[in-house]
Amino acid sequence: MNIAIARKELREMAPLIVVALLAQLWLLSGAMGLFPEWIGNFSAGNTIPFLNPFMDGDIVMLMAGVGGCLAIALGLGQTLWELFRGTFPFLLHRPLPRTKIFATKLLVGVGLWLALTVLPLVIYALWAATPGTHASPFAWWMTESAWQLCLEVLLVYLAAFLCGLRPARWYASRFLPGVFAGVLIMILLILPLGRAWSAAILLAACAGYVLAILHVAETRDYS
């Protein structure tokens, strides 16, 4: 990982990071009942944390949604922004292997995914697991679908990165990696696979996307 590139990436994506951080903090604080009801108290009703993340307005779904939006903006921003400004020739001429340059970009993205999607859910789960914080049952197995959502957000980030990096002549074909990721997520929702299988498939897909990104980064034209 190259620190200078990582710093540059964080700096360029700072507006996105700030917006996502504020949104997650607002959701998290609301879910933990830190706000008065009129500001946004998501635990005001009788919701049971992590019971069903796919219910309308569920906090886990909202937090994953914020993570998903950040993932798309981040993936496209880290690639298209460089392409549109024409800065890739400058960056890629630095005396550093190209794989390392792109691996640094991806590590920054993964770090932000951990910080802004996984961490808020971990904090929420820890809060939910702490006795006396809310009047509803909690067991750790209830959080499994939330972690699957996290993996799906990671897949969305990698797909968005590949969409931005991959040379494409028109916008429909540019978004093919995103469409593929979306279809895979839908299939995993529909098929009655166990959590372990779903996680394994998602991780395998993420690994496939990383390999595709590094391959495209190495072979594409930056003109």
């Binding site: 700096r11 020739p89 550093l96 072979t219």
Partner: protein
């Protein structure tokens, strides 16, 4: 003398268009090479292939003895590349851009140098503040920052893709003189593309001319100027076409005049001119700009003679 750049049958297609067509050339170490061509001739594509920014369809290039596709970081650190338009991160200040670039050369596992003092001197010379935001700089100032960043690692090879593009005449002249002043180190090779014939004539030891993706000229600059001749033949009545022969670059008919551009004008050409019945033959030297235009314009339709009538 070893070659800093060796290009062997480099080819690139964009769709059906052949942007670079089996180009082979060598640039000796220590040479200042001016790379000329009209817009779309393939200069930038060839430079991008040299720098590994664009992948060739076939052929290969070596820079400082290493395959351009797989340049090791240590070799890349010895090569400066100024991409077309001087791309820099516009959100950074000049100082931040310097620190960002410097971090790739200082304390690295391979041997690389970075001259802080040179950067300071260059910024003083260009009257640039380290606090100035890149996005607020003019094109000329961005070019100057790019140049300072490119030269700070004391590269052995400089590759400049149209470095004066978009600069006004005064800034262009200043920038070019800065380049000449700053690059004067023995053994340093400079390969630069340009549209500006005057710039090339002042600086380049050797030139290459690309026409429609093909390298048509690759020779010392002085040789190019001395070997090309403009020959004007005058005829009674309409001038005939000059027959195809070796060395004929272009011909233009203007009424009774036939203007030819010929490489190595000699006895063979004189005989052909006489056989056509030319009443007068004038042989002239050409400057680089005229020679370049003759080479790159291609075959043009005969110019019409304009007859002026006074309306009464």
């Amino acid at each position: 003398m070893s070659d800093a750049i060796v290009i062997e049958r480099l080819t690139k297609h964009y769709g059906p268009k052949r942007a670079v067509d089996t180009v082979s050339m060598r640039v000796p170490a220590g040479c200042v090479y001016g790379f000329l061509g009209r817009n779309g001739a393939g200069k930038s594509t060839l430079i991008k292939m040299l720098m590994g920014v664009v992948q060739p369809d076939s052929g290969r290039a070596t820079l400082l003895g290493e395959e351009s596709r797989d340049l090791m970081p240590a070799t890349r650190a010895r090569i400066a590349y100024l991409a077309e338009g001087h791309p820099l991160y516009r959100g950074m200040s000049v100082g931040e851009a310097i620190r960002f670039t410097r971090s790739f050369y200082v304390n690295r596992p391979f041997s690389a140098t970075w001259h802080d003092r040179f950067v300071t001197q260059a910024l003083d010379h260009f009257r640039l503040s380290t606090r100035a935001k890149i996005r607020r700089l003019s094109n000329g100032q961005r070019a100057q920052v790019s140049l300072a960043l490119a030269l700070a690692p004391d590269p052995d090879l400089l590759v400049l893709d149209d470095p004066t593009l978009g600069l006004d005449t005064v800034v262009r002249r200043d920038f070019l003189e800065s380049i000449i002043h700053l690059i004067q180190r023995s053994g340093r090779t400079v390969f630069f593309s340009s549209h500006m014939l005057g710039d090339v004539e002042r600086v380049a030891d050797r030139i290459g001319v690309m026409v429609d993706g093909v390298l048509r000229v690759d020779c010392p600059t002085d040789y190019f100027k001395t070997v090309l001749r403009r020959v004007v033949l005058e005829f009674v009545g309409t001038a005939p076409r000059f027959p195809a022969c070796s060395g004929l670059v272009s011909q233009r008919q203007i009424g009774g005049r036939l203007e030819l551009v010929i490489v190595g004008y000699g006895a063979e050409h004189e005989e052909l001119a006489e056989s056509l019945g030319a009443v007068n033959t004038e042989v002239m030297e050409m400057n680089l700009e005229d020679a370049f235009i003759a080479y790159t314009r291609g075959e043009s339709a005969p110019l019409p003679t304009f007859e002026w009538e006074t309306a009464r």
